[in-house]
């Protein structure tokens, strides 16, 4: 009864969250005296998973699954779990995995806990620590069902290499027409730019920037750091930046390694959306801005002077550390 993970891939390559998931599951498996099996959909080279502790991969190759389809993918995971006699299924917290997990849980008669941020508090009874109240608190949740599903919050565990030998097996689950009741008509992806979902670093700006014409320096700062750009709610409401960049309680959540906030005062709803980020830097000319209370590092100063200087310093740093 190994632990089953769904290892997400895009264009045949594993996403970083899949490797984080493998690292996490390996640690849980060690504590429970078992191993990790991964199920993959249309992934070509699965050897990376072995580096992070996966000892068996069920490889599904099916053109009908070229586009993500929650019901069909959930069927794949369910059948993989049943085939392996799995008692614990672990998914990540990408948009696709958040879509899948509740469906998988019902299909397996399993209890489900999402937003899990650490190794289980206890494996018997099975208790996990998860984010709740929009990252303002943690909740210890006990799952009482025989089969359990958990969702690992992004960037909450990190990568931990632990190579094992890997067995690959082709797996062809049975799919039916009803699995494809939702038809993909069109996919629009931002290309050539780091997106908030994938970003390790996010550079975000607020009304302190005074107008959309001033975002050039924010984009340049993001570009130097290989970061995604984001914004506060008022900025997207006014239309200075697209809604897809709005982070906060009703916008996108950010769990980056580094979050840099420029000219954002730090409303409680904004903080809730970024609180899962590890290191927070705030640049603001108001020393009383509430954001400084949750920041790790702060610069009190005019964004129009600080940001260009910071860009120069970072460029010099990158040149010296290339």
């Amino acid at each position: 009864m190994s632990i089953l993970i769904y290892a997400e891939s895009a264009e045949g390559k594993f996403k970083k969250v899949a490797l984080e998931l493998a690292s996490y599951a390996k640690n849980v498996a060690d504590a429970m005296g078992t191993t990790v099996t991964a199920v993959t959909v249309n992934a070509t080279d699965v050897s990376d998973l072995a580096k992070y502790g996966v000892s068996k991969v069920l490889k599904v190759s099916n053109d009908k699954l070229a586009n993500f389809n929650a019901k069909a993918y959930a069927d794949v995971i369910k059948q993989a779990a049943e085939k392996e006699g799995t008692k614990l299924v672990v998914l990540s917290s990408t948009t696709d995995s958040l879509y899948l997990a509740p469906i998988v849980a019902v299909n397996l008669n399993a209890g489900y806990a999402s937003n899990v941020v650490a190794l289980p508090v206890s494996t018997s009874p099975f208790q996990v620590k998860r984010n709740a109240f929009s990252n303002k608190a943690f909740n210890i949740t006990e799952i009482s069902t025989d089969v359990k599903v958990i969702g690992l919050a992004k960037n909450s565990f990190g990568l931990a290499e632990g190579a094992v030998s890997l067995t690959e097996e082709d797996f062809a689950p049975a799919l039916n027409d009803a699995d494809f009741n939702i038809k993909t008509e069109n996919v629009e992806k931002v290309t050539g730019k780091v997106t908030i979902a994938d970003a390790e670093i996010v550079v975000s700006a607020g009304r302190g920037l005074k107008g959309p014409e001033n975002w050039g320096m924010i984009e340049e700062l993001a570009s130097v750091l290989g970061a995604a750009t984001a914004c506060s709610k008022p900025v997207s409401d006014i239309g200075w930046r697209p809604h897809s960049e709005h982070v906060g309680q009703t916008g996108k959540p950010v769990a980056a390694n580094l979050y840099i906030a420029v000219g954002i005062s730090g409303a409680i709803q904004h903080i809730a959306g970024i609180n899962a980020s590890k290191v927070k830097v705030v640049i603001n000319n108001d020393p009383e801005a509430p954001f400084f209370k949750v920041a790790d590092y702060g610069v009190v100063g005019d964004a129009f002077e600080v940001v260009p200087k910071l860009i120069e310093k970072l460029k010099a740093f990158k040149a010296n550390n290339a």
């Binding site: 948009t95 909740n139 210890i140 009703t250 610069v299």
Partner: protein, 248 residues
């Protein structure tokens, strides 16, 4: 079209979060409760369908009598009737099972719920509900159009969006984008007066099945004070980010 909007009764977004009884319960003292923001977008979209295409809108909540004020607000915004399942919502599966009973009995074509609630953030009720019912399901939905039995929706994906098509009956988990924040309805006096005479049914729960339970709550450890770096010494900030925080 018969639309059911699932309403979660949650602490206002600015609420300070505290716990009581040895950190085993959420402390509701001094907390103002509101319609879950993601549900509010769904409710406004449902009212839009009612006004533009003709639909009936029922709102439903699983909760004690204290949640009726939230349901009345939804009625004042424009829902036609409300149902309260008289139970303490113990976990997402329990809520989904109770909602599934309401959907089966009411024969709803479109069920709209919020992608997640801002209290427990489980994000599981809509997907579980759809699966229990065998309905089509679209998560993280930011636009929905219905034409007869056909629906077209846009959902968020990591790094973009995707347009999908399907048929009713359908469950969607919605969020901001279903309508814009500026278009959210606020109850007016006429709506508030009318809401008083609208039906609010109270149903008893049909089961007590839960798969999980909240054992204990914790608040994050207090943060150490911010390290301020002079605007004239940004080399120090770069140094701290590299050597101390190890994030660049």
């Amino acid at each position: 079209m018969k639309i059911l909007v699932c309403i979660s009764h949650v602490p206002d977004t600015t609420s300070k979060i505290n716990f009581a009884n040895g950190d085993t319960e959420f402390d509701t003292n001094g907390v103002q409760f509101v319609i879950n923001p993601n549900d509010e977008f769904g409710l406004t979209r449902a009212i839009w369908f009612k006004e533009k295409q003709g639909a009936t809108v029922t709102v439903v909540n699983v909760g004690g009598s204290d949640t009726e004020a939230t349901l009345r607000k939804a009625l004042a915004i424009g829902a036609d009737e409300a149902i309260r399942i008289n139970a303490n919502p113990t976990d997402g599966l329990f809520v989904a099972k109770e909602l599934a009973e309401v959907v089966k009995n009411g024969g709803y074509d479109l069920v709209i719920a919020g992608t997640e609630s801002i209290d427990y953030n489980g994000g599981m009720v809509p997907g579980m509900l759809a699966t229990l019912l065998g309905y089509n399901f679209i998560n993280a939905c930011i636009n929905i159009e219905v034409d007869g039995n056909n629906a077209t929706a846009i959902r968020e994906i990591d790094g973009g969006k995707e347009t999908v098509s399907t048929t009713l009956p359908l469950v969607i988990a919605g969020k901001k984008g279903l309508v814009e924040e500026k278009d959210l309805r606020i109850p007016n006096m006429r709506g508030i007066m009318m809401a008083r005479s609208k039906a609010l049914a109270v149903n008893e729960p049909t089961s007590s099945a839960s798969a999980t339970k909240a054992v204990k709550f914790e608040k994050p450890a207090p943060k150490s004070a911010v390290k301020l770096v002079s605007a004239d010494n940004l080399d120090e900030l770069v140094n701290l980010l590299h050597n101390e925080a190890k994030v660049i």
